[in-house]
């Protein structure tokens, strides 16, 4: 078995101050197979990938690549050997063009050895087109949405004819249609005989694309084998380390909220939001206790809508009122004072403060509320932090660990905790469960449901149709910055949503 494996890791161990991230982990990647790597947030998946690709040096263990022992001391070595990786946090250069990001380090050159931009742009456009992404490749990457950026990262890795392709949560910002494209690519890569290592918290994706699976729990390998032999429930049980009955009993919690009274004053009313090129008169109404989903494809204007409501996107016209009171537009501070909080799409650039501790990240925003006469009770802080860390299962060595050191999913949980402890009136959630494991996802959904029941208004965006449909009381469907349909009550189904996306019809 070892002889034929492309990549074979034995007894990998890696510790960080205060945590054992990996201990005695084995992983074998045979050619022509898609191998799933699963586990809870903080289980060690990303760390394992970084050890395999030379970002971190392992403390113990051996790595062999195509039959001979290797030690990659930096990502470049792994890449040159034929291992392409898409890391969890999209790692591209925001200021540079899409084409440059695709070709950095292997740009086409003309016969004088100078960069051939025309060839590069043509090749980039062609490459992305084959992925169903149509963008002007000369634009700086930062002007594009998270979905496109993720596709660019994938295209970059898959384009380089690798023997091993490693994808760490490549679909967290992708729409179903883009996921399909990605899977086509993975199938192609597999058919060419490459080994693929695939990380995702979306179980149905795993079952669609993966052949075998390795389950990590608390840095240890707890299972390895063909995926087909495991039921979903068994897989979840392995990941969480709980027995089957317990999970069955708990069921899969859903966003769950009291139906709204149509007569109540809306807690949030946005009217005619218009922003050049992006939004054209969008209306959104949320009543207390209601969860309103925003439906739409990439580029439909969903993130822009919530950002306009939160004041972080300047609007040309339109008005927002919270609980009947008008809110000054274009000001994040004003929106916050009115009780509007937003979970941004991109947690890396406008989310967590990586150098501050978990405690600070959670309570900083709530300080005014927690302080009495300018003094902040440490005990009350600790109580709040403790509650959220438990409820959301934030995995950190202590509340004083730097957030930047947490796993991707745990950073997302910290962000959520920070918003929730501010006791907002309106919660704008842009992909709230991105990168969060199944256990915690149910918990987040339950928590949001509870808050809604207490009268909070929620606007929800999710690239998973299922999550929008299950979580929302009503859905506002957007296309090209316009509201094309509104689904309520019995109409909130996946079929109706897809139909509305398709023809923009419905009820107007």
């Amino acid at each position: 078995m070892t002889a034929e494996a492309v990549l074979d890791a034995r007894g990998i161990g890696k510790r960080f101050p205060g945590v054992v991230a990996l201990s005695e982990v084995d992983l074998t990647l045979p050619p022509g197979e898609v191998h799933a790597l699963v586990g809870e947030n903080g289980a060690g998946k990303s760390t394992l990938i970084k050890v395999l690709t030379g970002v971190y040096a392992p403390d113990s263990g051996e790595l062999s690549y195509r039959g001979s022992p290797v030690r990659f001391s930096r990502p470049l070595d792994a890449q040159e050997a034929g291992i392409s990786t898409v890391y969890q946090e999209i790692n591209l250069v925001p200021l540079m063009s899409v084409a440059s990001n695709l070709f950095l380090g292997r740009e086409p050159r003309n016969r004088f050895g100078l960069l051939d931009f025309r060839a590069m742009n043509t090749a980039a456009a062609k490459l992305l087109e084959s992925y169903g992404v149509h963008v002007d490749v000369t634009r700086p990457l930062r002007t594009l949405g998270a979905g496109v950026r993720q596709m660019v990262a994938v295209a970059r890795a898959a384009a380089s004819h690798a023997r091993v392709v490693i994808l760490d949560e490549p679909t967290s910002s992708l729409e179903p249609r883009e996921v399909d494209t990605l899977f086509e690519i993975i199938n192609r890569v597999r058919a060419e005989g490459a080994a693929v290592l695939y990380v995702s918290h979306r179980l149905d994706e795993l079952y669609r694309i993966c052949d075998t699976v390795t389950v990590l729990r608390d840095g240890r390998k707890v299972h390895n084998g063909p995926l087909k032999e495991l039921s979903r429930l068994q897989l979840v049980a392995l990941m969480l380390g709980r027995d089957l009955e317990q999970i069955q009993r708990e069921g899969t919690t859903k966003f769950d909220s009291a139906p709204a009274e149509a007569l109540e004053t809306p807690v949030l009313a946005a009217r005619g939001l218009t922003s050049q090129h992006r939004l054209h008169g969008v209306d959104v109404t949320v009543r207390p206790g209601e969860i309103v989903g925003l439906g739409g494809l990439l580029g439909a204007g969903r993130s822009e809508t919530v950002r306009a409501i939160a004041g972080s996107l300047p609007v040309d016209s339109g008005a927002v009122t919270v609980a009947g009171k008008p809110v000054r537009s274009g000001s994040v501070a004003a929106a916050m004072r009115a009780g509007v909080v937003m979970l941004p799409e991109d947690r890396k650039s406008d989310g967590v403060l990586p150098d501050l501790s978990v405690r600070e990240n959670i309570v900083l925003a709530a300080l005014p509320r927690l302080s009495a006469g300018g003094l902040v009770s440490r005990r009350r802080q600790d109580a709040i932090v403790d509650t959220f860390m438990k409820r959301l299962r934030i995995k950190a060595s202590s509340p004083d660990q730097k957030v930047g050191e947490l796993s991707g999913g745990n950073q997302q949980k910290v962000l959520l905790a920070r918003l929730l402890c501010r006791e907002p009136k309106v919660l704008l959630l842009d992909e709230p469960t991105r990168g969060i494991d199944v256990g915690a996802k149910a918990e987040v959904q339950a928590l949001v449901g509870e808050l809604a029941a207490e009268g909070l208004g929620v606007v929800l965006i999710s690239s998973e149709f299922e999550e929008v449909v299950e979580g929302s009381d009503s859905i506002v469907v957007l296309r090209e910055g316009r509201v094309v349909a509104e689904l309520r009550g019995a109409d909130v189904t996946e079929q109706k949503l897809i139909a509305a996306l398709a023809d923009g019809g419905g009820h107007g």
């Binding site: 925001p94 200021l95 380090g105 050895g113 992006r278 990439l298 580029g299």
Partner: protein, 339 residues
């Protein structure tokens, strides 16, 4: 259903930039050039002695030394670093040239290049492999090079004079088509630098490193090696500029170059390079250098103004540019991502 299956992933691409963003981008990139042109026009009208061949020659010569130093600084700053040592290294280069020339012109030019390049390489190694902050590392070599300078000149008491007829001295003082060699050298270096930054993999990777070191490393770019060469280049160029300046004045003077690094940084930033790295142009730096030098020249022309006002005006410019950069990057945030 058809619309969903159709390729609808067209994002932001077709949404052109707004006029305001377009103007903002232009100000960032070409602002220094426009201001330079304005000052030149106004000064030409206001002072008879400004738009003369002699004065232009004078400005060009004065600019060439700073320009060569600022060229290396441009690359370093674009990569997200800073090189504070160039002022001391510049002075050291001059003294070493004057020292080395006693064994011939070749030694006179090689000695400063080797030593100054070596100091640059030390900077680079400490930053790239030692993972130390560039600010601290180059501050240390700023002090170190100054110390070395004083040591080899007996506390600066002996100023070495370079023989007038030596080849190296001629390189500083001679002219081609009425323009001094140092100016030609600077022009050639800038042309090469511009091509390197914009049209080579090297330059591209420097932009990437400055844009995001983490991403560059994960993309498999040779970050450490690049970084080391950047600082080496900066040291080399500072040494070269120092040697040329010494040749021009036919003497190696120890007191030059104090605060020169700040002029270089100012020129780079005024030229539109982001102090945070990731974007900038070599041409912008040239405009920045000329702007500083023209302002200095104009203040001298006015005569009644103390030359200290030069710093005041340069400082005001710098503040304005940095403020505009900050404003622009905030304006950009507004139009960041699509859904």
């Amino acid at each position: 259903m058809t619309a969903v299956t159709e390729k609808t992933a067209v994002v932001a691409a077709d949404k052109g930039m707004t006029k305001r963003e377009w103007i903002a981008g232009l100000v960032q990139r070409r602002g220094s050039l426009v201001v330079l042109a304005l000052i030149v026009i106004v000064s030409t009208v206001a002072f008879d002695s400004f738009a003369t061949v002699d004065n232009a020659r004078n400005i060009a010569m004065q600019s060439s030394f700073l320009a060569i130093v600022a060229l290396g600084m441009t690359f370093v700053i674009i990569s997200g670093g800073i090189d504070l040592s160039v002022g001391s290294v510049y002075a050291l280069g001059g003294v070493l040239a004057a020292l080395g020339i006693q064994w011939g012109s070749l030694t006179g030019i090689l000695l400063p290049l080797v030593v100054c390049g070596g100091i640059g390489m030390l900077n680079g190694a400490l930053v790239a492999y030692g993972r130390l902050a560039p600010f601290i590392v180059t501050l240390a070599t700023l002090l170190g090079a100054r110390g070395l300078l004083l040591a080899i000149t007996d506390e600066g008491s002996n100023t070495r004079v370079m023989p007038r007829d030596a080849l190296l001295t001629q390189l500083g003082q001679g002219t081609l088509l009425g323009v001094g060699y140092p100016v030609w050298i600077a022009v050639v270096l800038f042309a090469v630098g511009a091509v390197m930054l914009q049209r080579t993999r090297f330059g591209h990777s420097v932009l990437a490193i400055g844009g995001s070191v983490e991403a560059a490393r994960l993309m498999g770019l040779p970050v450490a090696r690049r970084t080391m060469w950047l600082y080496t280049g900066s040291g080399l160029l500072a040494g070269l500029a120092g040697a040329l300046a010494a040749a021009y004045s036919a003497s190696g003077v120890t007191i030059v170059g104090v605060g020169f690094e700040l002029d270089a940084i100012a020129a780079v930033v005024i030229g539109g390079t982001l102090l945070t790295g990731g974007a900038g142009t070599v041409g912008g730096t040239l405009a920045g250098v000329l702007l500083l030098m023209v302002i200095q020249n104009v203040i001298n022309q006015i005569g009644t103004l103390s030359s200290h006002y030069q710093s005041v005006v340069s400082g005001a410019f710098l503040a304005a540019v940095v403020a505009i950069q900050a404003y622009l990057s905030r304006a950009h945030l507004g139009r960041e991502r699509g859904t």
